[in-house]
Amino acid sequence: MNRLVFQNIFRFILLVLLQVVLLNRINFYGYLNPFVYILFILLLPFETPGWLLLLISFVTGFTIDIFSGTPGLHTAATLLAGFARPTVIKLVGERDEYNASMYPSLHNMGLKWFMTYTFILVFLHHAVLNFLDVFSFAEFFRTLLRIIISTIFTVLFIILIEYIFVSRKEKR
């Protein structure tokens, strides 16, 4: 149990640093803006209680907000992703054989399951984030394009990170 907590704190620090130091500086003609820190919410254990999931989402979003100077923006988006997570897990289909400490990683759930799960939540997160940032539907299609491109890059990034960790586990 303790190991699980430490593992998650370590992952939190690592992903926030990756986001703030590296990814927040990446941009491609204003359309590419991957937010990989959401992986932290995706990888929380299945058995995380609902209230804790929401509080963790809130804190994660708020941390990113402080570093990017956008109060409330990432908080609102991450919170919605945390809220939707249990529903999405049910929707994509639970596996019977998981135990309490297990979390929905690529290694545990398989590529197809993980990709569907990631794609839905990342899309939701990016959609809320971008529409709240623009705060109007006037530039609807431009915002939509921004959301889709960013989502694709975030999902690719997440799968890549997961593969690096999976291959390390198998070698052991």
């Binding site: 703030v20 130091v21 927040n24 500086r25 990446i26 941009n27 491609f28 003609y29 204003g30 359309y31 590419l32 803006n33 609902g50 209230w51 929401l54 509080l55 809130f58 979003g61 907000d65 402080i66 570093f67 990017s68 100077g69 956008t70 109060p71 409330g72 923006l73 908080t75 609102a76 919170l79 919605l80 809220f83 971008n130 709240l132 940032d133 623009v134 705060f135 530039e139 431009r142 915002t143």
Partner: protein, 279 residues
């Protein structure tokens, strides 16, 4: 009472979500106020230190370009100084203080954080209240306008970049003095839009756009960019003019913060006039 408790226990997930989401949205809606609040200023102090060390490293990569810009500017300044003029008669040059009173002075600052990829971009500078930086001061580069200060902490300043949804800068076309408003439509970080120029005005590509100086924030005549294209939408009376920014927002490094020494006087006058008109 028991029913209410049971209700809360049963729907605690949804209720907590709604509560936290309302908190987040309240922060978002009040974000301009929040940027001056204590929590974000503490955040500014932490992130400021953090970005300073990151920028110390990346600063080296831009040294060459920065030096180039500075030497160009030095050359221009040298041209204007007394030593580069040959005296045309025996009279001595005087700086006449009754003709020219200083209206603006400049604080040098360094960009330690900057984005161009978002819809609303902000810049962080390494000078704050301690150096006399205040809200609503202009931020410029040797090439032109960069943004406006929106909040300051002790050592750092947050600047709303021109690349922002809320940008509205009063500008004019240099060759015919026509007044318009500069906005940014969020697509390309090197292209802005000039609105509110009447459709009867004659324009050509390459015309220069400069600040009008009507806003109390920006000095007049600062370069903003050159016209790329212009069109009038069907049934409209004003041009839509996309133009290239003269500033490359992606490579901002050293900037000047502009303090308008007569701002208080200007605003005071405006306020009293408006108060009289309302009576």
């Amino acid at each position: 009472m028991r029913n209410i408790l049971a209700f809360i226990v049963r729907f605690h997930f949804l209720l907590l979500f709604i509560l936290l989401e309302v908190v987040a949205l309240a922060m978002l809606v009040n974000s301009t106020y929040f940027q001056q609040s204590a929590i974000l200023n503490t955040g500014n102090a932490i992130t400021g230190k953090f970005y300073t060390s990151a920028s110390n490293i990346t600063g080296y990569l831009k040294l060459r370009r920065t030096n180039e810009l500075l030497s160009i500017e030095n050359a221009i300044l040298r041209q204007g100084s007394d030593i580069s003029f040959l005296k045309s008669d025996t009279n001595t040059f005087w700086k006449n203080d009754t003709l020219y009173r200083q209206q603006y002075n400049y604080i040098v600052a360094r960009v330690i954080h900057n984005t161009v990829g978002k819809r609303n971009n902000y810049i962080m500078l390494d000078k704050g209240r301690r150096f006399g930086v205040e809200k609503d001061m202009a931020v410029i580069t040797p090439n032109g306008v960069a943004g406006t200060v929106v909040s300051v902490s002790e050592n750092f300043a947050w600047v709303m970049s021109v690349l922002n949804k809320h940008t509205r800068i009063s500008a004019r076309i240099r060759k015919n003095d026509q007044m318009g408003t500069v906005v940014w439509n969020g697509v390309n970080p090197s292209v802005g839009t000039l609105n509110d120029i009447p459709a009867h005005v004659k324009l050509s590509r390459g015309d220069t756009i400069v600040t009008s100086g009507f806003s109390n924030i920006f000095p007049a005549g600062l370069m903003m960019g050159t016209i790329n294209d212009f069109r009038v939408e069907q049934g409209e009376h004003f041009y839509i003019i996309p133009f290239s920014f003269s500033v490359d927002f992606n490579s901002l490094d050293y900037v000047y913060i502009v303090r308008n020494l007569m701002k208080d006087e200007q605003e005071e006058l405006k306020k009293t006039t408006e108060a009289q008109a309302n009576e």
